[in-house]
């Protein structure tokens, strides 16, 4: 039995069909037509304690719905889910003490008062013993570098500062599982780095299980070893990031600057384009290695400059989406 067990969870929403036009508006006023939207379709996975899992997919794929189900806000139409031995939506009060949730787009801090006041309130909400609370708070302040900002009304904080407070607020009760829904959205590079480092450390030292959604692929690559890709409500890929790379990351872009004319026809070169000052080749490295290509090229032309570019994870994801037609 894994720490988090999700079995065949499905969730369908009924949405009232709305068409444009006054006539249609009247029609739907009298008789409403509903459209069933499948948000999550037969999803299963299991996660061990202490894992960091990147949960990715395009907009509207069902990421948020899954997070909502796992955190107990929504109950699914069918399927089972056991987390730390509990069913989230059935044992709400007991369960939520074990989890922390950060929504990058929604704040849980009080807007007009300093973050520390919100922390104090959370202490009572979670019934955290005074001593434990003080220790955790001190630790979080140190790690997230909050000393100077904790006493300023939240509305005056920058986005990065607020997000750090936000994360601290979700961790005051030492949850075993942390859900991070786009934690770095809108942050600058420095804040992003700080947040990532913090999450990494947290996972390492406290063995906190972390489920992370993000559209920023560098979040995923730096933090998660394993990813779950969903699209149209279905799990499309579940496995290590490395395997995904090996499978898809076979194309390499080679940009050559040269004044010579190049005519090359070789197995493994998938496309050749003339650019402003040279050529761009796309090479399948499984068939044709880069060194072999270079040897070949240097025999034929004089290379002024060369630029070899591996596919980024973003490209891979786009390719994945295309493959699955989502």
């Amino acid at each position: 039995m894994s720490f988090i067990e999700v079995k065949q969870i499905s969730k369908t929403f009924r949405v009232a069909k709305k068409k444009s036009g006054l006539k249609e508006a009247f029609k739907s006023f009298i008789k409403r037509e509903y459209l069933d939207v499948v948000a999550v379709d037969d999803i299963s996975f299991s996660i061990e304690k202490g894992e960091i899992v990147g949960y990715i997919g395009p907009n509207g794929a069902g990421k948020s719905t899954t997070i909502k189900i796992l955190s107990g806000i929504l109950n699914p139409d069918s399927g089972e889910c056991k987390i730390a031995g509990m069913t989230p939506w059935k044992e709400r009060v007991k369960y939520v003490k074990k989890i922390g949730v950060v929504f990058g787009q929604k704040s849980q801090l009080w807007w007009d008062i300093p973050a520390e006041d919100t922390f104090d309130l959370l202490k009572d909400i979670y019934d955290i013993p005074e001593e434990e609370y003080q220790a955790t708070k001190k630790d979080l302040i140190k790690r997230l570098n909050l000393e100077d900002i904790i006493n300023i009304p939240v509305r005056q904080l920058s986005l990065g500062q607020r997000m750090r407070c936000e994360i601290a607020a979700s961790l005051l009760h030492n949850p075993e599982i942390l859900f991070l829904d786009e934690p770095t959205i809108g942050l600058d590079a420095v804040s992003k780095q700080l947040v990532r480092d913090f999450i990494k450390k947290l996972n390492k030292e406290k063995k906190t299980t972390i489920i992370l959604t993000s559209h920023d692929m560098s979040d995923i690559t730096t933090l998660a070893k394993r990813i779950i890709l969903i699209g149209k409500g279905k799990v499309l890929y579940d496995g290590s990031l490395k395997k995904l790379r090996d499978k898809y990351d076979t194309e390499t872009h080679v940009n050559i600057r040269t004044k010579d004319k190049l005519s090359i026809r070789k197995k493994g070169i998938t496309s050749k384009n003339k650019t402003r000052d040279g050529y761009e080749l796309v090479v399948n490295t499984k068939i044709l290695s880069i060194s072999e290509l270079l040897m070949n090229l240097s025999k034929k032309i004089l290379i002024d400059d060369i630029d070899i570019e591996q596919d980024t994870i973003d490209h891979i994801i786009v390719k994945l989406y295309e493959d699955y037609k989502i």
Binding site: I73, L74, V93, I99, W110, D112, L121, I125, D127
Partner: protein
Amino acid sequence: MKLYFKSLGMHLKAELEYRVNFILSFLSQILIFFTSYFVIIALFTKFDNIKGFTMYEVLLCFSIIQFGFAFNEVFARGIDRFDKLIIKGDFDRLLLRPKSIILQVLCSDSDFVKTARIIQAIIVLIIAIMNLSIHWNIMKVITLILMLISACVIFFGIFLVAASYCFYTVQGLEVRNVFTDGGKHMAQYPIGVFSKGFVVFFTFIIPYAFVNYYPLLYLLGKLDSPIYGLSPLLVIIYLIPCIIIFYMGMKRYSSVGS
């Protein structure tokens, strides 16, 4: 309970952040709501009674309802503004916390400016009592206190039901105002001045009559049995279905989403 008072304190702190705004709103509340009392006074310069109720008797009734309503606006603001909680998606956050949902909704908002109305209601209540010749005894004091408490309870229940409406749709919120504001305006007068149908409705469907009609009659000596004096207690029973309705709505929310 401790949690509730702590969050009240924080709301006060947050409101006081905008000092000028707080003072001005407070003053304007006083002005606006005295006008509604003047309406009654103006009415009674034309007629010396409405179906046997004198001006001070109506004012007594009026102030008790105002008190109950304003009390909820200050201390149960979160329930009054529940639609905001749903629309902004903050309700999800409450579901992620290990405390009773109704308590958390209560903690989520409050409006201290409206304390102005509570103060007003108390002032008018005192004026009304001083000008009425009520034969006071312990039972009648208890009745008066029960009336005030039940006024708070009944509006709490009504707010709760109105809030439950938001679980189904956040459109057409005016519908619920029929029962909150509309009900309030009706109940400001002794229910007996209305026709029979209204009396039945406001006795059995929304039991305003137990807040400010039957006990009022007892207080004024128009009815003798002390049972009428204790009738506000029935309002507490009314709260039970209100709470059940709220939790039913919540169940629906978690299966439908927003």
